[in-house]
């Protein structure tokens, strides 16, 4: 009887392993990376903890260990996320003024190439953030992304005197993803080190609010991974469509990620609706998120037919990756108007022999006049 149970158990186990193995092998690279990272972390094979340290001028967050065992294009690599508070023991108002992400060795000391940084996103909980200041109508208005750093634009700071106000016990979220366009060697391990500049509250500081705009292109939702051809404008998706596809008011499927083919291309997208400007706004900072083979991303005022800012992406010549992506920062700022139309214009040049994935976002930071009014009377706790 016991041997029969054992026999059936072994049979079921082997069957499960075969089915599981086939299922795993059929998964895309990014899903395999998620499973492998979970296994490495849950089994304690590599460090799965976040090391978070606060000083007077910044909060440093060092990620769990990522195992790089493959080529990982944008959005594919091992990743980690966590919520954090700058200092949960206090409810002091402070200002976030700068952002930096970099790759480092697992000894948490030696720097590594930033070729291993895909992106680092910082989000806030808009309910807690706006409700505390009785700005309830702003909850749910836009995705509460504070900012993003990415390959080629790994660090920046707001113009002097500007920042994003948060309470030290407010919930913030960090998600960071690794990248490896080039190294096909034995598996190796890395960490990401993220640093946010923190400044104590001062009445002279000016609040910024962020708004994300990005290029979206049409695709055929029935055949999302095929095309495009001369007769089929389908932009075909490099990633699964669940989290990266949208529908416009007419029900057309749009994607924020698409495939580019060998050669030069230009993509345009009207962002007036994404901007959702009710009154005029003054823009003081722009951070840009691009993928390799992007060359420039312009923010244009269509109404005035002028270019407000052009971000230039410098690609490496000898390997795939972005060396540098320029950003905009200005104390005086640029005005954007509710009765103007705006667009993003992306120029790409795929110099490789393979299809490549593409995306283009701008994180725009505007002077937040509503928050400034609330801050006028704020008394230190």
């Amino acid at each position: 009887m016991t041997s029969k149970i054992l026999k059936y158990s072994v049979f079921v186990l082997v069957l499960l392993m075969i089915v599981g193995g086939i299922y795993y092998l059929k998964l895309p690279n990014r899903h395999k990376a998620i499973i492998k990272t979970q296994v490495y972390h849950k089994l304690g094979l590599v460090d799965d903890t976040w090391n978070i340290k606060l000083t007077d001028s910044n909060i440093a967050l060092i990620s769990p260990t990522f195992v790089i065992d493959n080529i990982y294009k944008s959005m594919e690599g091992p990743k980690a996320m966590t919520s954090f508070q700058i200092d949960p023991t206090k409810s002091d108002l402070v200002w976030l003024t700068s952002f930096e992400t970099k790759a480092m060795s697992t000894n948490e000391i030696d720097p590594l190439s930033n070729d291993y940084v895909c992106h680092t996103n910082i989000d806030f909980y808009d309910g807690e953030h706006f409700s505390r200041w009785n700005l309830n109508d702003r909850i749910g208005e836009a995705y509460p992304r504070l900012t993003s750093m990415s390959n080629g634009i790994e660090s920046y700071k707001f113009p002097e005197g500007f920042g994003f106000p948060v309470f030290t016990n407010e919930n913030l979220f960090i998600a960071t993803q690794s990248l490896n366009h080039n190294i096909e060697a034995d598996a190796f391990t890395i960490k990401h080190s993220v640093s946010l500049g923190v400044r104590a509250h001062s009445n002279t500081m000016k609040p910024l609010m962020s708004r994300t705009v990005f290029v979206m292109l049409p695709y055929n939702s029935e055949q999302p991974f095929q095309g495009p051809t001369d007769t089929n404008p389908n932009m075909c998706l490099p990633v699964d469509i669940k989290n990266h596809s949208y529908q416009d008011n007419e029900g057309n499927s749009l994607s924020g990620h698409w495939v580019i083919f060998k050669g030069k291309e230009t993509f345009k997208y009207d962002i007036t609706e994404q901007l959702h400007i009710k009154d005029s706004l003054t823009m003081h900072h722009i951070a840009v998120h691009l993928h390799p083979f992007a060359e420039t991303l312009e923010l244009r005022d269509k109404t005035k037919d002028t270019t407000l800012f052009t971000s230039i992406a410098e690609n490496y010549g000898e390997k795939i990756g972005l060396k540098k992506v320029s950003y905009f920062s200005s104390i005086n700022g640029i005005k954007l108007y509710s009765d103007h139309n705006y667009e993003l214009v992306l120029k790409t040049n795929n110099t490789s022999n393979d299809n490549q994935d593409m995306m283009a976002s701008m994180f725009l930071f505007f002077y937040d006049s509503d928050m400034a009014e609330k801050l006028l009377n704020y008394k230190k706790n």
Binding site: P88, G127, N136
Partner: protein, 196 residues
């Protein structure tokens, strides 16, 4: 199935260390610029059994609260599943309570809430589904630091996938996006701490 869910959750979360003491998050900045702490109170709400739901129902309880509606096609079903899993973890704790506020009182009558609650398989003394007028529910959402509004075509509502955690003194001690695995983990850790 529930047994395996609990085993899986315990395996995943069992070895995590205790979090630091949780901050008190229920305070707002008034017009004079002062931080004003407050507690969560209830008036004019009824539960799925058509009984009054008052502040007394949450006194001395550790509460997980969210906003939902029964016709919700998007985030509510996975939120419900996650809350069922969390209830399984703490089913032996008598001072644990979940409170779900409907944001669609027009359609979510007491009878609808009763059937919805029954379908969760969780006892009504552990999971209260409550309703009031839209105005009262909006006020309650403000206390919980969230809001809701109909979408442009009025077929759905914007509402948050966050839940709030209350301590025994009806103060907010945490917010969690329970559609993210890491955030559910954090909620379970924080619940363990408050239920100790």
């Amino acid at each position: 199935m529930k047994f395996y869910t609990v085993i899986l959750i315990l395996m995943i979360f069992g070895c995590h260390h205790s979090p630091e003491e949780l901050p008190i998050l229920s305070y707002k900045i008034n017009d004079r610029g002062d931080q004003v702490p407050y507690t969560i109170n209830y008036t004019n709400f009824k539960n799925q059994d058509n009984q009054a739901f008052t502040t007394e129902n949450i006194m001395s309880k550790i509460v997980v609260a969210n906003f939902f509606f029964t016709r919700c096609p998007s985030i509510c079903p996975p939120m419900r599943t996650e809350l069922q899993n969390i209830n399984e973890v703490f089913k032996n704790k008598n001072d644990f309570l979940m409170v779900s506020h409907t944001i669609d009182p027009k359609n979510d009558t007491v009878e609808v809430l009763y059937n919805y609650a029954k379908s969760t398989g969780v006892d009504s003394d552990r999971w209260q589904f409550i309703r009031s007028t839209t105005e009262e529910t909006k006020k309650q959402a403000e206390l919980y630091m969230t809001n809701f509004r109909p979408t442009d075509d009025e077929t759905d509502f914007y509402h948050s996938s966050y839940v709030a955690l209350l301590d025994r003194k009806q103060r907010i001690r945490g917010f969690y996006n329970i559609l993210a695995v890491e955030e559910s983990e954090r909620l379970i850790e924080d619940l363990k701490q408050l239920l100790e």
